[in-house]
Symmetry: C2
Subunit: 258 residues, 2 copies
C-alpha cells in the first residue's frame, strides 16, 4: 500500500507547498509513483505544478463530495510518475458544510482506503495542507501514516511547532493510531543569519533525531519555479534548492528502508 505523508504546519508561509511539490518530484525522479493531493483552497500546489484554475477538470472537492472517483481525478504533471489531484476554492467552505456530519474526520481516509486501484498504482501519496489545524488538515492526519512538518527558521514558526505536535497526538488517540511524525525539515535556512542558527539549535535540542539532517536553504530558484508551473527540480535542476530536496527524499527513503 502507498505510504501517505501529510505535509502540514498551521503556521503560514513556512514552505509546505514548496516541500510537497519538490519532494514529490524527487520521489518520482527516483522511480516511485507519487500522487500529490492539494487540500489547500488557495491551490498553490496545483498552480505550482502547472495546473491552473481553468485546467482543473476534477478537484479533490469533487472526489470528496462523491462526484468523481479518485482515479478519474488525476492530472499529469511535467514530472513523469508525479500525478496531482488539484484543489478548488470550494474547499474553503468544507468546515462549515460538514460541521454536523458525524464522520467528518474520516472522509478522506474512507475515499483513499476504498480505492483498491490506488494501492497498486502508487508508492507515495503526499497531502499539501492549508495553514490551519482545521478539518482539511485533520482529514489528512487521519488518512496519513505520518506528518512531515516544514519549519521555517524563524521565531513565530518555532512557537507553533508544539501545537502541531499536540494536534497530531490527539489524532493518534482518537482517530488514527498509526500517525507519527515523519520529521521536521528546516526551510528557508540562511547560515549567515543568527536567528536561523538559533532556531536550528533549539529544534535539534528539543526534537533531536526527529529533525532531518537535510536542511533546505533560502534559495530564490525555489520561489521562481512555481511561476513557470514547474518543480524547481525541473526549472533549475542544479540549483541549491533542487539538490536539497533530492537529499531530503534520499534521507526519507533511507528511513523507510531501515
Amino acid at each position: 500500500r502507498p505510504r501517505m505523508i501529510a505535509v502540514a504546519n498551521q503556521k503560514g508561509g513556512v514552505g509546505k507547498t514548496t516541500t510537497a511539490i519538490n519532494l514529490g518530484a524527487a520521489f518520482a525522479e527516483r522511480g516511485y509513483e507519487t500522487l500529490l493531493i492539494d487540500l489547500d483552497p488557495q491551490g498553490n500546489a496545483s498552480t505550482g505544478l502547472g495546473c491552473d484554475v481553468t485546467d482543473r477538470t476534477f478537484t479533490i472537492h469533487d472526489v470528496i463530495s462523491g462526484e468523481v472517483s479518485l482515479l478519474d481525478s488525476f492530472c499529469e504533471t511535467s514530472q513523469q510518475r508525479l500525478r496531482l489531484v488539484p484543489a478548488s476554492h470550494k474547499l474553503s467552505s468544507f468546515e462549515m458544510a460538514l460541521a454536523n456530519q458525524e464522520d467528518r474526520l474520516n472522509l478522506l481516509k474512507d475515499i483513499l482506503f476504498e480505492d483498491n486501484n490506488l494501492h497498486d498504482e502508487f508508492s507515495y501519496v503526499l497531502f499539501d495542507c492549508p495553514p490551519a489545524l482545521n478539518l482539511l488538515t485533520l482529514n489528512a492526519m487521519v488518512a496519513a501514516h505520518s506528518v512531515l512538518a516544514p519549519l521555517q527558521a524563524e521565531f513565530f514558526a518555532l512557537q507553533g511547532l508544539s501545537q502541531l505536535i499536540s494536534s497530531m497526538r490527539q489524532v493518534r488517540q482518537s482517530a488514527n493510531p498509526h500517525i507519527h511524525l515523519e520529521g521536521v525539515v528546516l526551510t528557508m535556512f540562511d547560515r549567515r543569519n543568527n536567528l536561523s542558527r538559533q532556531v536550528e539549535s533549539d529544534a535539534r535540542q528539543n526534537l533531536q533525531q526527529l529533525v532531518f539532517k537535510t536542511v533546505i536553504p533560502r534559495a530564490v530558484r525555489l520561489s521562481e519555479a512555481p511561476s513557470h508551473g514547474l518543480p524547481a527540480l525541473h526549472y533549475d535542476t542544479r540549483s541549491a534548492g533542487s539538490t536539497a530536496y533530492r537529499e531530503l527524499a534520499d534521507e526519507i527513503l533511507r528511513n523507510h528502508t531501515k
Copy 2:
C-alpha cells in the same frame, strides 16, 4: 469613532502579524490611542507584543463568548498608547462551534459597536487575521472600515490577491457596505531580486494607487523583534524595517486626513 482596519490575507506568512504590530506601534508613537485585536489562534501578535500564553488573563475568545467585556480584556504593551486583546487557541474551533448560528458574521461587529467606551478611548483598531478566508477573517471584514492587505513580493502571494479582493466585495454586498481596501503593502521586498521587482510592477499595474508607495524591505530586525516581545520600532528603532513602518503609518494618516 475609531477607524477599524483588518490586516488580512489568506496567503500564509506574508507579514500580516508583523504589519499589525509595527503599524500599531507607529500609530501609537504618533499619539493615536490604538487597540490591536489578535484573531489568529496561533496568537503571534500577542506573543510578539510580549503577552505570552500564560500572561493572557482574558482573550478575544472570552470577549466574543460574552464572558468578559471588551474594556476588561485589554492588556498593556511596551508601547504607550498601544493596547492588545490577546488571542486564544480556542479560536480554532470558532468555525465549527458557530456553523449553525444565524448571525455568526456579526459577532465581532456587535461587540465593538455596543461598547461606547471604545469610541472614546481609541482612534485606531487593528485586527490581525489568520491565514484563511474563514469565519474569523470574515468577522473582521464585517466589523472593519477597511482591509489592509500585506503582499509578500512572491508569485504565490500575488496569485491569492484576487480572491481576497473578491471576498471583500462579497462582504460589502451582503454584510458591510462600508468595507473598502485601505491598500496593499508590499512586504519582504528585495530590490536585488527579479521576482520582487516583477511582483511590484504587476501589482502597481493592476491595482495602481491602491498599492501603497511605502514598500517594506526584507529586514532581519523585523523577524528578530518578536522573540524579545517588542515591536521592531522598540527593538531597533533606526532599522530599515522600523523606518518603513513609520513611513507606512504616515502615508495612511495622510490618506485619512485628505
